[in-house]
Amino acid sequence: MASAGVTSAAGAAMHLVDYTDPAAIKQVPTRNGFGEGLVEAGRRDERIIAICADLSESTRMEAFKKTFPQRYIEIGVAEQMLVAMAAGLAAAGKIPFIASYAMFNPGRSWEQVRTTMALNESDVKIAGAHAGVSVGPDGATHQAIEDIAIMRVIPKMTVVVPCDSAQTKQATLAVAGRFGPTYLRFARAESAVVTTDQTPFEIGTAQTFRDGDDVAVVACGILVYNALVAAELARKDGIECRVVNNHTIKPMDEAAILAAARDCGTIVSVEEHQVHGGMGSRVAEIVAAHDPVPMEFIGVHDRFGQSGSPPELTEEYGMGVTAILAAIKRAHGRKRAARG
């Protein structure tokens, strides 16, 4: 877990894995971190129960089911029931974690989420698995790329998108220990683990993973790794990027976003989601209201997903390292142009 090779003081302070060394990088699906975190959360608080909609293995609720069979509820293919019943359990003193694919919960169950979870102020935690096009061969019907938008628009909702499996475990524990309706988003495919147990994590506090003040790259989810790799490549062109792991979409760390805008003068947002309405849109809302700077948006541009391997789709939708690097250069150029 040595952080020696990490090229910035920020990376060392965050106890990151040396992400510049491909051999140091482990590939683990973020959903695994959820599975581990949920068991640990269940040990810490016996009010925690898990409810699943016929997907216990692929959402990784299975470990909780084995460890706490009495506190595991199988509800079948019924995502609206999943949410509304959880709200009832929460009203009676339980802390339910509810799991399905993000496409179906909160995708299918959105109005139940809004009314019975948020408006009701129920302490229900949604685990949205299989978010993003990195779901792969299942295709568009199963690739949730609108879920951040529909969740961040709901008042009182907390929305968390951790960057790797280690952080998903931390986030699961943090969410479990904090009151309020919450959406935790994670992915299916294996992805790079850049954080460690020592990496601090707090809901609502963005993390600077790399220092720099030429361009700010504000990323969330499994693409944070691509953002870091692109930032190292940009250095060869004399561009020092600040990379911010913006894991909490709501409430977003406005201070960190405004500092990035002020110090760097331009922002590239990176997310595995529609650029319309997602994390980057929220960043744009913040800077437009206070301190407008040019922005580039990495994400899916108003298209549906499709079948393919996760790497093929990441490239096809312009979210690979090359595309991020190009956006960094464009952002840098626009900043200079803006300054005349």
Binding site: Q80, A140, H142, E316
Partner: protein, 286 residues
């Protein structure tokens, strides 16, 4: 069942065997996908595409065609395989299943491949769309019928029951729902996950005409469809009792095959078994 001549039944069973082989080959090439439900609906899809449906593979948008909706989109391989053998597209294209840029998306997409009536995969949405089509057909006085293939697991979705009420309200006798009653879903038996029984009573209570049959007896299935078509003033359901993974010994009845493709050696064995079974088709009828 007396409806089908023996040669015709033999031909349909051979088609079902082809469809199963196509499923195995395409899932092997895909490296992911749903074997169990696809295989268990092969007999019914062969019967539909090669006997029941009024359709024209050369004219997938023929306005007078019967509409076949696959509500449980995860068993797309059975539909793709049946369509390929029926002449909608070349059989070799089955090997592109789930690949990047394929027309054979992991879950069926209407705008991707001509001949699919709806996009599906998210469960429980087929019957509602089928009811919409059937109602449109009624309003137009059309002669075509609507068939909706559903899984048993998706009977846990609320929308399916909303559609059941609606179809009965509008007396959609041009609508037939076919249920793949394999008693299996991802997390185990449907009766453990969220019990569906007594399913026939539930349909009856919702004012549907209910039929049951062995989903692997093509003659019985075809005869049941003929009876369903005679029903006036009510939608009909055919609860087809099936065995997950039917036709491949090591998959039969095992819920773990819901969402797995065969590996190379498993596919080899499956194809050997299907090849051997093909030799025996029609033999017992002499």
């Amino acid at each position: 069942m007396g409806l089908l001549a023996p040669e015709r039944l033999t031909a349909l069973e051979e088609h079902a065997n082809d469809v199963r082989q196509g499923i195995i080959r395409s899932l092997l090439a895909a490296g992911s996908g749903h074997s169990g439900g696809s295989l268990d609906m092969a007999d019914i899809f062969a019967a539909l595409y090669f006997h029941v449906l009024r359709h024209d593979p050369q004219r997938p948008d023929w306005p007078e065609r019967d509409r076949l909706l696959l509500s449980c989109g995860h068993i797309a391989p059975v539909r793709y395989s049946a369509m390929a053998y029926a002449g909608y597209f070349p059989v070799e294209e089955l090997l592109t299943l789930r690949h990047f840029r394929t027309r054979l998306q992991g879950h069926p997409e209407r705008v991707s491949l001509p001949g699919l009536e709806t996009t599906s995969g998210p469960l429980g949405e087929g019957l509602a769309q089928g009811a919409g089509m059937a109602l449109a057909g009624k309003l137009d006085g059309a002669g075509w019928r609507v068939y909706v293939v559903t899984s048993d697991g998706e009977h846990q979705c609320g929308l399916h029951w909303e559609a059941m009420m609606t179809a009965a309200k509008f007396q959609l006798d041009n609508l037939t729902c076919i249920v793949d009653r394999n008693v299996i879903q991802i997390d185990g038996s449907t009766e453990d996950v969220m019990p569906l029984e007594p399913l026939t009573d539930k349909y009856r209570a919702f004012n549907w005409e209910v039929f049951e049959c062995d989903g692997h007896d093509i003659g019985a299935f075809v005869a049941t469809v003929e009876k369903a078509k005679q029903v006036k003033g009510k939608p009909q359901v055919i609860i087809a009792h099936t065995v997950m993974g039917k036709g491949v010994s090591f998959m039969e009845g095992d819920y773990l095959w819901h969402g797995k493709p065969p590996k190379q050696d498993e596919a080899d064995q499956a194809l050997r078994e299907l090849g051997a079974a093909r030799e025996l088709i029609g033999a017992q009828r002499g």
